[in-house]
Symmetry: C2
Subunit: 351 residues, 2 copies
DNA sequence: CCCGTCATTGGAAGCGCTCTCAATTCCTGC
DNA sequence: GCAGGAATTGAGAGCGCTTCCAATGACGGG
């Protein structure tokens, strides 16, 4: 033991068996006499022996670590609510599966963004990766990872990425469609839509759903105003101001996420509009603010924790498969249920 | 190379040197002829060789991984803004220091909460730990960790913990004091204070600062109402309702965090109060909502990202010291600057 | 009572890298 | 041209654990 922490050999020595036997006991292997097992366990306890994962994994060629990658740069702060939700769910999943979660952020505008992620797996730091938007839409990255045989699960990937790697998420197109249908059902006929950052395909899907519903309802191009924001409160404020200043004012404004919707609310308040009487405003995500703000925001709830949890389940599944079976698991996309949450920021249009 | 990934031996073979030499080149060791270095580098490049961290760390006895621990249970959702801020800062620090960040949540009410954290270091999963409240106040845990010689840095520890382990944070007592002084300067004479969860000593410090300012101002016990919340919006709502229903209404309400302040705002609005004319409400933390809410919340900003970043710096420092020097580094507490952010939820009392 | 089986157990070869220490080579200065 | 010392380089011993394979022992059938 040489003063340091006890090793498996110390346990073996103390219990009078071979190292291999201790290993068997530790890993619940078969073919160990009960009496021997007890003897080993007693030694483990007496020595306060703890497996050195570092060594176990070197020998076993794994790490029991999953990487969760998300984007962060100085201009667009990551949405903390969104990421915390996913993280919490993932953490729960990891705890159950006996994995650890390694966080990794990369500036999506940096040149070596892909390299940094790839290195994580090349240097054997983790057994699998969970990618969040917009990385979950980076097909090149996905393919590189696949070439390295690295299990990957994407959070809310767009259609293209869904063909390349497995993913989890809500059906954004349907969510956008349903939300729009709801607004339509309230009697709205003139719409505004604030899109999110380009490249976030899942947010773009919400827009597709919106278009589908609009088209079905026979609403003409002249009655819809579309703008592109960047998911921030600020952009919601600015774009809404632009939309409202524009004369041909919509009666319903749909935003691709809550932050922008809250910005819209802010802007509308500022010009003296009553919400929802004068303008219905709705968002996406159901972040905590949407409940706190006045009026409470009608929005779409997506079960972030469930998504994070499911992502871990899926990836663990793939990791196991990778080591058991021969052929790689087929790519799949798991849809988790979303829900339109009706609060008070949307109502039938006045007059 | 046997089909798998190239190893250091493959590089050694290809470049015609010994394994040790390749290692030296890889680690920037001295005493390698330039010509040899180039040869090795070329082989590395040609083979697309990547160090297997797993192996490097087993040999070196380190992991280059830092653990960030935070509490989470089902009843009290962790404050995503708070944790994301710290995490982001820590992540940035890790990236610069060449470390990875392992996240770990533990239910603070579970029995084995300490064991789970200890195991993280016992099983050699990380080289150091960053503890957030309330774990940063768990002196028993801190001592156990110290016994294991595990570098630890606490985020916003209370006075007791500051003596046991190093930490970073703002000076909460002074922050509470300053905020109260500010309210006093506005002319308030009757106060309400909503405390946070018991055991979160740093939040308790804010209260101490409040008491100090109140005492200095010669305000009597009869003019302050104190309640204990649990940091949630809900508790802010409920406790404020209680305070307002109580007759002897304060003109200023100070909450130990923003969520509760927002709840207070909500409750006050509900009973028809004008904020800040009828009641000034202030919080702590400067979360994003505080800017979005109406009226914008006067609060105390603490630089979370800086704190997270600094925590990593400190821990890396300790890790290096642990391996170089003999004596352990002295315990220290780094104070980062906070700032009272004056917005519109506080004003001189009416009448 | 002997031999094939099967449950147990031990031995030893790695996993891929770091690091100590000895061997070798290269320069100096005289 | 050669000794002494510094600069390089190579060999090999781990780091602590998993796992393949051979060895041992017990048992039941012939």
């Amino acid at each position: 033991m040489r003063g340091g922490k006890p090793t498996i050999d110390d346990v073996a020595a103390l219990s009078g068996v071979a190292r291999a036997t201790v290993s068997r006991v530790l890993n619940g292997g078969p073919n160990v006499r009960e009496e021997v097992r007890q003897r080993v366990l007693k030694a483990v306890d007496k020595l306060q022996y703890k497996v050195n994962m570092q060594a176990r994994f070197l020998a076993g060629g794994k790490t029991q670590v999953l990487g969760l990658v998300y984007a962060s740069d100085l201009d667009s702060e990551p949405n903390s609510f969104y990421h915390s939700g996913l993280e919490l769910g993932a953490l729960r999943g990891c705890a159950e599966a006996g994995f650890q979660l390694l966080m990794h952020t990369v500036n999506q505008h940096s040149l070596g963004k892909t390299a940094k992620i790839i290195e994580l797996v090349d240097s054997r730091r983790c057994d699998g990766l969970i990618l969040t938007p917009p990385f979950s839409d980076d097909c090149d990255l996905l393919r590189e990872l696949e070439a390295r045989n690295c299990p990957v699960v994407c959070i809310s990937p767009g259609l293209a990425a869904q063909k390349v790697a497995s993913g989890v998420g809500i059906d954004d197109e349907v969510a956008g469609y349903e939300m729009t249908r709801y607004m339509l059902s309230l009697g709205h006929k003139k719409f505004g839509f604030i899109k999110g950052l380009e490249g976030h395909l899942s947010a773009e899907e919400r827009y597709s759903g919106f278009r589908r519903a609009i088209a079905e309802a026979g609403i003409g191009e002249a009655d819809v105003t579309v703008m592109r924001g960047n998911f921030t409160f600020r952009s919601g404020v600015d774009l809404t101001a632009a939309i409202l200043g524009n004369g041909h004012r919509p009666s319903a404004l749909i935003c691709a996420n809550d932050d922008m919707a809250v910005g819209a609310l802010f802007s509308a308040h500022k010009v003296g509009l009553n919400i929802p009487q004068d303008l219905s405003i709705v968002g996406f995500d159901d972040t905590p603010v949407s409940e706190i703000i006045w009026p409470p925001l009608t929005t779409v709830n997506q079960p972030l924790k469930t998504i994070g949890y499911r992502a871990v389940e899926m990836i663990v599944e793939r990791i196991k498969a990778g080591k058991t079976a021969s052929g790689p698991l087929p790519v799949r996309f798991d849809v988790v249920p979303h829900k339109v949450v009706m609060r008070e920021s949307a109502s039938p249009p006045q007059g």
